[in-house]
Symmetry: C2
Subunit: 407 residues, 2 copies
């Protein structure tokens, strides 16, 4: 049974995957493609007595493009269970990465057919829902992550959050590895920080949101999310990779009316090597399908790896038209400070959440002024004034630029 | 704040990680280590006003070994939430893989301190529980995966399972990408296959088990597992990577009295590159902690990549003494057939589950004789007789060897 058919044109019900394939030494790309197509669908390494031609005709994949290592495979939708992301991943991103037939293999992109895509809910809020909730129509949103990543007791955590909000942050989020450690238990933190949010909203006259990290075993995660909702929270954040799709889908299915912020901690373990693993673009598309409202996609600048073109491609995939799914709010985070706001907004446009942790709390005059400086940088960009010029009349911005951009 | 302290000796409450570190061009390994230690614990890319020395003293990590690219870091247990694997991964295997400071970074091994390890349940059954359940004391267990991977309707699925069991398989499992597709819905398949199991048990006089794949959104996964239990099933299988730790921990916490078989589909997306990502050894250790009873660890032979020494190291980690955690039953699967049983058992010992899909259903005389041949191969090994000799009086084995080992 051969799965290569270069004359095949994908049907409207096919799921199409684009792979980069580097065959093992001594193996041809065609033979590697046969093995990949078989292992990711209906085949195995030897001919079997239980196969019949009807199965091959109905469910067989089609390798329809092989070009300089790039390979496109069309899979009939019936191979997959609707609304079950683990099932889909176990097929098209499962055993194949460990096959001897390939030296390297990367799932570069994935294209969902309409019906399968629509079996997933997509974001409930997305860009416009979040903007409505915060009452901020046009400018980039400014967020911070409470720092140090770990170690603050809950009272101090809430206080730092308060300072961030009144300084000008729209959003305060927990760090990806803060869940419910003994020095800062979840419920205590949420209560104190939401109380601080209320004070900050009143004092600033602006909408403010807090994104507590609920990442944990699914039952506990749902209890924590309900706790957040029951105490006036409107957001939760979740580490989508370390939690996994089974838990993530459960959280979204629980339909608690909360905005879901997706942090991607651990993604680079499989996205970074350009020849092997799974691209961030694929992870982003899957996240949109399952219903993440906001997603970290990189900065193109800052402390994390990730080239500009790749970040833009991911942005387009989560923001652009995709059946009737709402656009996901792109989040840039990692090594950001006020001096990086202009190039970041130039790259990403205004529909971006700018998350700065060290870039706020590392301000020479402390957290509140760090938040002030971030907002000033955003205001300068929106008013089309250079940071240097704006800093002339805004000392907080000036101090930030002196710390992070002079040299 | 420096985290490197080569005189530090890990305390009994430290979690220790061993990394392979390749710094980015122009960066020293020491500076990469500082960045990794900071990002995986309490630090960030810049000094911050909200840090105080008490936090560093209590929660600071210690890089205590740097040797030819191998780096050991000790993390105080208080950095982590007990019994929360996503939290632990988001710390020590989170953002660090994407840092600009490293060209490649691999989490090679992890050592849990007693108290943190004991916050996890470990396997309920493990090797001895499974052996007791099946009534097989010494020999390797023989399992098959129903093939083709996808496409059989539920009735045919059950029939192939029946043939496998009466031929001699102890275990029949679903394939990793079969969940509840329309051609073979979950409940229908489970009912028919468990009924076939009962018939096979009666006919053979042996204990038989069926491992239906419950991988899906957590709530649905729990419903499916309960359905299996309510209809006399004793096992479920789950794709631990594509499901993720949040769902996996929920399934185990549900405490349904079911043996949990862990399939590792997708692991090679991050385990295969020896310089980057996370090792299979780490994934195996984490799986044992959370309570997986059986785990795919490779074959050392067959269609999947994975060198012998690595497979043995993983085997030792899940079987060897580890506080009071029960040993996980190692599963070898991927391209196995009767001819590979002797070298496999020589490598792995008798405490192994030998899963052959194509190596059963690809037998020239069909599934039942394929299963007969697999058991004959195991019997030959247990009786210390060569396969060639044993095949002289066992035609099913002979036919298998002729198909797969002659050339």
């Amino acid at each position: 049974m051969s799965f290569i058919d270069l004359n095949y044109r994908p049907s409207s019900s096919d799921l199409v995957c684009r792979f980069f394939v580097e065959p093992s030494p001594g193996s041809s790309i065609e033979s590697a493609c046969e093995d990949i197509a078989a292992e990711s669908s209906i085949g195995t390494w030897t001919d079997i007595s239980t196969m019949d031609s009807g199965i091959g005709e109905k469910l067989g994949p089609h390798v329809f493009e092989i070009d300089k290592g790039m390979v496109s495979i069309a899979y009939p939708s019936d191979l997959f269970e609707a609304e079950n992301m683990p099932c889909i991943l176990s097929s098209v991103a499962g055993n194949i990465f460990g096959m001897k037939a390939v030296e390297n293999l990367r799932l570069v992109d994935v294209f969902f057919p309409k019906k399968l895509a629509r079996s997933f809910p997509g974001p409930e809020f997305g860009i416009y829902g979040v903007r409505g909730l915060l009452g901020v129509r046009k400018r980039p949103l400014v967020g911070t992550i409470i720092k140090p990543k770990l170690g603050l007791p809950s009272g101090r955590h809430a206080e730092v959050a308060y300072e961030s909000w009144v300084g000008g942050c729209d959003i305060v989020k927990d760090d990806e590895n803060l869940t419910s450690q003994r020095f800062n238990p979840f419920e205590e933190r949420v209560l104190k920080t939401l109380e601080a949010r209320d004070r900050a909203e009143e004092e600033s006259g602006e909408g403010k949101v807090y994104m507590p990290n609920v990442s944990s075993e699914t039952g506990e995660m749902l209890r924590r999310a309900e706790f957040v909702r029951d105490h006036g929270g409107r957001y939760v954040m979740v580490d989508i990779v370390t939690v996994g799709f089974s838990g993530l889908q459960a959280l979204i299915k629980a339909d608690l009316g909360l905005v879901i912020h997706g942090h991607r901690a651990m993604h680079a373990a499989f996205t970074r090597n350009k020849k092997h693993g799974i691209s961030m673009l694929v992870l982003a598309k899957l996240s949109r399908l399952v219903g993440v409202d906001q997603l970290h996609i990189g900065t193109g600048v800052g402390k994390m790896e990730g080239p500009r073109q790749e970040v833009l491609g991911i942005r387009d995939a989560i923001v652009g038209s995709f059946f009737d799914l709402k656009p996901v709010f792109p989040v840039s985070s990692g090594g950001l400070h006020p001096g990086l706001v202009p190039p970041l907004v130039e790259l990403m446009g205004c529909d971006v959440i700018i998350q700065a942790g060290g870039g706020v709390h590392g301000h020479p005059q402390g957290t509140r002024n760090g938040a002030v400086a971030m907002r000033q940088a955003v205001d300068a960009v929106m008013e089309n004034i250079s940071l240097q010029e704006y800093a002339g009349s805004h000392p907080e911005l000036k101090a930030a630029l002196e710390k992070w951009t002079s040299s």
